[in-house]
């Protein structure tokens, strides 16, 4: 972004920038390193050993964590995978449709609906848990993945609707105005013009939905009671018990395992997150 500068100065600046970022990275990554180190120690020494130095690589936690529960751990990863894929697809479809309506269409009561949409995320969820549970129970959906997925297909995540509204409003109107005057239908404009232009927003929504759904403990807890239906967060909790000993080693080991998909999704997903707008020659 800056104009041309003498080489030496810019190199110095870049080295300084990297040094700063690496220092900051250490602060950010410390908990993960601590978790990784703890997962490589026997449970009974985790809390009695300070520091991050490992004397031996103790891999039993991984073996034990993978096999200690009623099913091998990949079973729970698949369960979580089903829920997460459903949630991501649902959110991308339904939230972008709603966002287009709010951002580009002038229909009656639009402001009212928008206000109601924001209000739905202002009420603390603890007081709607019970009524919502009764709704899902009436539909016979308790102990299925539906309560975790179906709402996403119906745009209940106002966060993402509003996010996409802001992004669509940032797209210059000239780009779709021309198509409108040519008489293109809204669905065509939406799929042909708007969607390709809001890839960063869609990527953001996909990544967040993935990560939040993957680690959503409370919804799983309430709706999935059969051990075979457990998602990863529930499986991780079953290693712990507040009233007696917990299998911390296995819990940390499997936490590390369950973080791998998240990290990979983010690492590869960010390519789309930072795509420039093609029409304007972004690099």
């Amino acid at each position: 972004m800056a104009g041309p500068r003498p080489d030496a100065v810019s190199r110095l600046r870049s080295v300084g920038k990297h040094a700063l970022l690496i220092a900051a990275s250490l602060v950010m990554i410390y908990p993960l390193v601590w978790m990784l180190v703890s997962s490589l120690r026997p449970t009974d020494v985790i809390f009695r050993t300070p520091g991050l130095w490992l004397n031996e690589l103790y891999l039993d936690n991984y073996i034990e964590g993978w096999t200690a529960l009623a099913r091998p751990f990949d079973w729970y990863i698949v369960n979580s995978g089903i829920v997460v894929v459903g949630a991501v697809v649902g959110n991308l479809l339904s939230c972008s449709l709603a966002a287009y309506a709010f951002a580009r269409l002038k229909f009656r009561l639009r402001t009212l609906w928008f206000a109601i949409m924001l209000m739905t995320i202002m009420l603390p969820f603890h007081v709607v848990i019970v009524p919502q549970y009764i709704v899902f129970n009436t539909f016979g959906m308790v102990n299925t993945f539906l309560p975790l997925v179906l709402p996403k297909f119906l745009a209940t995540d106002a966060f993402f609707v509003f996010l996409m509204v802001q992004f669509i409003r940032g797209i210059p109107r000239e780009l779709d105005e021309a198509a409108r005057i040519d008489g293109c239908g809204h669905f065509r404009i939406f799929f042909r013009i708007i969607i390709p232009l809001m890839v960063p927003a869609l990527a953001t929504a996909a990544i967040f939905t993935f990560i939040w759904t993957w680690s959503d403990f409370f919804t799983s807890l309430i709706y999935l009671t059969a051990p075979d239906m457990y998602t990863v967060p529930l499986a991780l909790r079953s290693f712990l018990d507040a009233t007696s000993g917990s299998n911390w080693g296995a819990m940390f080991a499997m936490s590390i395992v369950s973080l791998v998909p998240l990290f990979l999704v983010f690492l590869f997903g960010q390519k789309y997150l930072i795509q420039g707008i093609a029409t304007t020659g972004g690099k």
Partner: protein
């Protein structure tokens, strides 16, 4: 439940619109299922029950095994397991109860039994043939509240003080004699440890906000935590003295600081001070010995809690139910639910699978039957439970609704005291008034 997965994927591929009502759940909706053999449900001549508990991996295993054993023996039963863990168990149970889907058989805790029982959520087990004829005296009353039997003792527990004997020896401090030690001895012993270790090791973990020890202390003064009629069984002056007693520990550095107490209140079990070797004694329930020794990597001496007049027979000990078995008041098969509970507490088969993991069985014959099968720590617990029988007083009543909060109230007011935000009188009065309010609420 692989069918569920297949169904789900099939439905997901059909698109969101076609989801409708899925027949994957064991629901009673009776709607057709979304293709591919439906879920379970009653086949007319079989009884299906759900059973929920909280626990650790060991308990999850033995409970699952016991369920298998029962259903093998009684093929007309099918029991669906709903394991959980303590921290989130109560959130789920409350939600299910509110939604009328509470499991038929519920592992219950003394802190919550009144909340659920007195509000009509639990079955009167006595009405449906609960059998406690072989129970050790006093243990059958744990789940009886004002004449109704809301739960049955699933294992005996008694409060004890664990000592790190090796540490005492190392520091050259004598272990107290637990048949004659007094509350003041607890203080002097703790101070001795702190001084001998140069402050490296704290004499005792804090028990200023420990409702169990407060209960023991009150009982020896002829009071109780709670009495019939949903009210406290003590008054402000008792609490004032209790707090003053603990300020002596604080002043001598014989218990952790106010900050440390706050931190420890939310620590996981395995990080307790005694277990990490930074304190020499601590109150534990007898059935936690096994887990404590596993986490601490050392053996602990299990001692009686003290008395006022240096005589253990006056210490008003009691057998508490470490947990209880209850049944939902809305169960469709009350007799069947009680049949399972009876099997659990009275059969040698169940006992052989679960041993004393939930506490020493309350059924004396059963306890006898499994005594030789127990691990070394569990044998010591069994001996402890047997030894203290002459010292028992009346069994305390279960905390009334709102009473389960006593411990956290006491923690809040005692930290305010230790952080010098309140005087002893203010803390005692504040605590008492708020407790009375929450019992009335």
């Amino acid at each position: 439940m692989t069918t569920t997965r297949r169904q789900f994927l099939a439905m997901a591929s059909m698109g969101a619109a076609g989801l409708g009502l899925a027949g994957c759940s064991r629901g009673d909706t009776g709607d057709g299922d979304g293709g591919g053999g439906g879920g379970g449900g009653g086949d007319g001549d079989s009884t299906s029950l759900t059973l929920t508990w909280w626990g650790n991996p060991t308990r999850n295993q033995n409970t699952t095994d016991a369920i298998d054993a029962f259903t093998t023996e009684n093929p007309n039963f099918s029991i669906e397991a709903q394991p959980g863990e303590w921290a989130s168990y109560w959130d789920r149970l409350a939600t299910q109860t509110a939604g009328n889907t509470a499991p038929d058989i519920i592992q219950m805790d003394m802190a919550y039994i009144s909340e659920y029982g007195q509000r009509g959520a639990l079955l009167d087990l006595a009405e449906y043939g609960l059998d406690t004829s072989k129970f050790i005296e006093g243990t059958a009353d744990s789940g009886v509240i004002e004449g109704t039997n809301y739960g049955v003792n699933a294992g005996i527990n008694s409060p004890s003080v664990l000592f790190n004997a090796a540490m005492f020896e190392e520091l050259g401090v004598d272990l107290p004699d637990d048949t004659t030690w007094t509350w003041d001895d607890w203080l002097t012993t703790a101070i001795a440890i702190t001084e001998a270790s140069g402050g490296e090791i704290i004499g005792t973990t804090a028990f200023i906000s420990n409702d169990v020890m407060l209960s023991a202390w009150l009982r020896q003064r002829g009071k109780e935590l709670f009495i019939e009629g949903n009210q406290p069984g003590f008054d402000v002056s008792d609490i004032t003295e209790w707090l003053e007693y603990h300020l002596q520990f604080a002043d001598a550095g014989a218990m952790p600081s106010a900050s440390q107490i706050t931190e420890e209140a939310s620590l996981p079990f395995d990080q307790g001070r005694l277990l990490t070797g930074t304190a020499a004694m601590s109150m534990y329930w007898s059935n936690q010995l096994d887990a404590a020794e596993a986490a601490g990597g050392t053996e602990y001496a299990m001692l009686r809690y003290p008395s006022f007049d240096g005589d253990a027979t006056t210490r008003k000990a009691w057998y508490k139910a470490s947990m209880l078995w209850s049944a939902s008041a809305r169960t469709e098969n009350p007799e069947a639910a009680v049949e399972v509970i009876n099997w659990w507490v009275n059969s040698t088969e169940a006992a052989e699978i679960c041993l004393s993991e939930r506490g020493i069985p309350a059924n004396g014959e059963i306890a006898e039957h499994i005594s030789s099968m127990l691990s070394d720590p569990q044998q010591r617990v069994a001996a402890f439970i047997a030894d203290i029988e002459p010292e028992l007083g009346d069994t305390p009543i279960a905390p009334p609704p709102g009473g389960g909060q006593l411990g956290s109230l006491l923690l809040r007011y005692s930290s305010d005291l230790l952080f010098d935000k309140l005087t002893v009188e203010e803390a005692a009065t504040g605590f008492y008034d708020e407790l009375v309010t929450s019992l009335g609420g």
